[in-house]
Symmetry: C2
Subunit: 495 residues, 2 copies
Amino acid sequence: MSASAYESLKSRFARIAALNEAAAMLHWDASAMMPAGGGAARGEQLATLAGLAHELLTAPEVAEELAAAQAEGDWDSANLSLMRRSHARATALPTSLVEATTRANSACEKIWREAKAKADFAMVRGALTEVVALQRETAAALSAALGMAPYDALMDGYQRGVTAADVEPVFAAYETFLADALPRAEEIQARRGAALPLSGPFPVTAQKALCQALSARIGLEYDHARLDESLHPFCGGTPTDVRITTFYDEADAAKALLGVLHETGHALYERGLPGAYARQPVGEAAGMAAHESQSLIVEMQACRSDAFLRFLGGELRARFGCEATEVAPENLALLWRRVARGFIRVDADEITYPAHVILRFRLEKAMIEGALQVADLPSAWNDGLEKLLGIRPPNDAKGCLQDIHWHDGAFGYFPSYTLGAMAAAQLMKAARVAEPGLDDALAKGHMAPLLGWLRQNVHGQGSLLGFQDLLRAATGKPLDPQDFMDHLRARYLAA
Amino acid sequence: MSASAYESLKSRFARIAALNEAAAMLHWDASAMMPAGGGAARGEQLATLAGLAHELLTAPEVAEELAAAQAEGDWDSANLSLMRRSHARATALPTSLVEATTRANSACEKIWREAKAKADFAMVRGALTEVVALQRETAAALSAALGMAPYDALMDGYQRGVTAADVEPVFAAYETFLADALPRAEEIQARRGAALPLSGPFPVTAQKALCQALSARIGLEYDHARLDESLHPFCGGTPTDVRITTFYDEADAAKALLGVLHETGHALYERGLPGAYARQPVGEAAGMAAHESQSLIVEMQACRSDAFLRFLGGELRARFGCEATEVAPENLALLWRRVARGFIRVDADEITYPAHVILRFRLEKAMIEGALQVADLPSAWNDGLEKLLGIRPPNDAKGCLQDIHWHDGAFGYFPSYTLGAMAAAQLMKAARVAEPGLDDALAKGHMAPLLGWLRQNVHGQGSLLGFQDLLRAATGKPLDPQDFMDHLRARYLAA
């Protein structure tokens, strides 16, 4: 019974995964292709797919099969354990709570759009209070079912294998580093003078050709991928059919280019997942922080490195006729690695970005734990940002209203951005040791040494390990913010 | 219980329809967008969606609910009766037969591609024999469950509400007409002399712009539709998000243009289906013959009419700089309404096309009834075409191997093409009576009078009526081939 129970579960999870793949394609289509009039029907289609996936996961026979199932070997054992976790998360929440959450999130998200446009937090306060109350209920139910702290149980839904207790000292260390490093980086930058802007024009067709050529050059196989346009760039699709998108600005070639390199990092992760466990939990990416580490190791670590900027400069000259002085690596560094204290997370540079995440992590954890009331969020936000970056938002649109996450019910997601950035630095350091020719290759526009190492140590590992264990296996230690700080020191603080 | 049983069934059928909508989008994507490497995963996704839809339809409680359900009013009564039919068709076939059929069709279709390329019927004979045997078994099972003749039960799967007994006299009448009309049309055409070819070039961008502008002009709302490219043009998607495709040939602007007008006819039908019954059986299109009537009424009846050719000529001059003599309606008629006896159905003109269909209808009916063996198909085909059109295929690639249908298990589909062509003529005649300004509008490139009438009499009727009843309600009589013959006489036999 036990082996056949596991086989039966594998078939069931493969069906669930196929439904999720179908949904991923419909999400991509909705952003990149769908005419506006298709929105309502698309909502029905996605709700039906999600509902059926949930029914397959929570059917009465699943609990019995999970109890009886036995699996042999690391991969199948991990797979079975991930099935149990997935089932535990799905069955921990009563249907009434799931439905109330969906309704509250959707209502709040709508109000938030208007509140943000009007910079009026009071408009959304009531709806957000309801969202937070339901998230606290969800966290409590998951906490009881999974045996972890409420906030950890939420974070576990985005990134398995890392807890607030892991994150707190890492963020504290970064805060200390930042207080010293930020003013020094600004001073050094000021001494270097203003950057020369790249001279265009940058026609969309030429930008597209460059984006596609570069992403292919660094490893994206276009018989398993597409590059399209959408308002908000993303990486979607499935491992054998990855869909990345970008948005072209004819005034600025860098936006689409750097964005596509970022999404290519995500896409290469999906492409490198272990095909032998396709459509099984252990064959999926290891989580959102792990995913962000792969987009950032490509975009920030590799493609904004001095070595790769040399190669990129040549491409910009050849394709857009930019001047040699404009595309010199020092100038591209001034343009594309500019440090500036700002209010908006998505516009932030590598050094200040973690401050935005640290602020959000502390506030959302306090809200879930009941230590911070939604009514007090704006002042707590503004105080927190002032403490971290020394600037105070002039209004809530530039403060606690800027991100969709909380207003759409996503609590526990924010740490992933900075855990990913830090993991990227840590992985890059280990990859450089293992592949001594890595930077020489980057200078020629080749990413094969890095990609080969990532396929071995990250992509091909699927969800075999949780976040900390994945880093331990790949780099010999759990998350260590020193590697990220060393990277920032080398890039921004070397006089 | 009875009313709530019907409500429960409506929810179930809405979920099934949402799954089918998702599948329709994934099919469109596979043809218009998907990189080749996504094919295997797409197969898994579509198989999962189809499997779940089948499980929802055949779940044990459905039979009880169908037995208990009561519905009031024409629409809901028809809806319930269509639910019963759908359930009866799905439960009539044992799973083992469905699986054997899927396997046999897929295997035969693969072999057929090679057999066609080599013009070697012997290669595929065994596989096709297996396909036919399983289709006969399927027809027998459906016949028993639905209480209709075996071939009718297959045809009913494509077009409800018409039987072989309806089709046979119609086709016989056409055969008689053809024997006289075809040589006369050829003679008249010969007297008119050769057509002037349109002088290009026809750049793809300009063709696209024209196709999109014309389809929009005749009624396709692009906030609910897309026009893309694929190898084989089709209309897919869903009623609020229709996806039409075409294939551009820079040497010939007519192919894409007339193709897009054809697909626009299909798309307008989907767009006009009754929204109040969206995702219910009665809200769907009335069948394949009804669908083909709508593509052909737009392409053949309206857009190739003398009136519309006058308008189209102006467009061709303005967009491609063609000469006035080239775009004169008489010349466009010579170019785009050319009659020629040929071996290939998809290349056939309006007059000879039905001969290809009549041949296939008789042969497939004989195969299902056991009166024709697969081994005898090539000679029966060649004899039949010779009798109908006076020409004999030089090999089986130009004979019984030309179409995918039978080799993929589609028996009972072929009549739809000609039933659609005939219904289009019959509907057009009725529309002209009801809307006296119809042709004047067409001459100005306006289709509003025709479209308004079709929305009322066809599109908005959904599946309320079967094929013959739909025609009866719209035109006062069941399918009558005389209207189609009158149309051909007026277009091709007027000296």
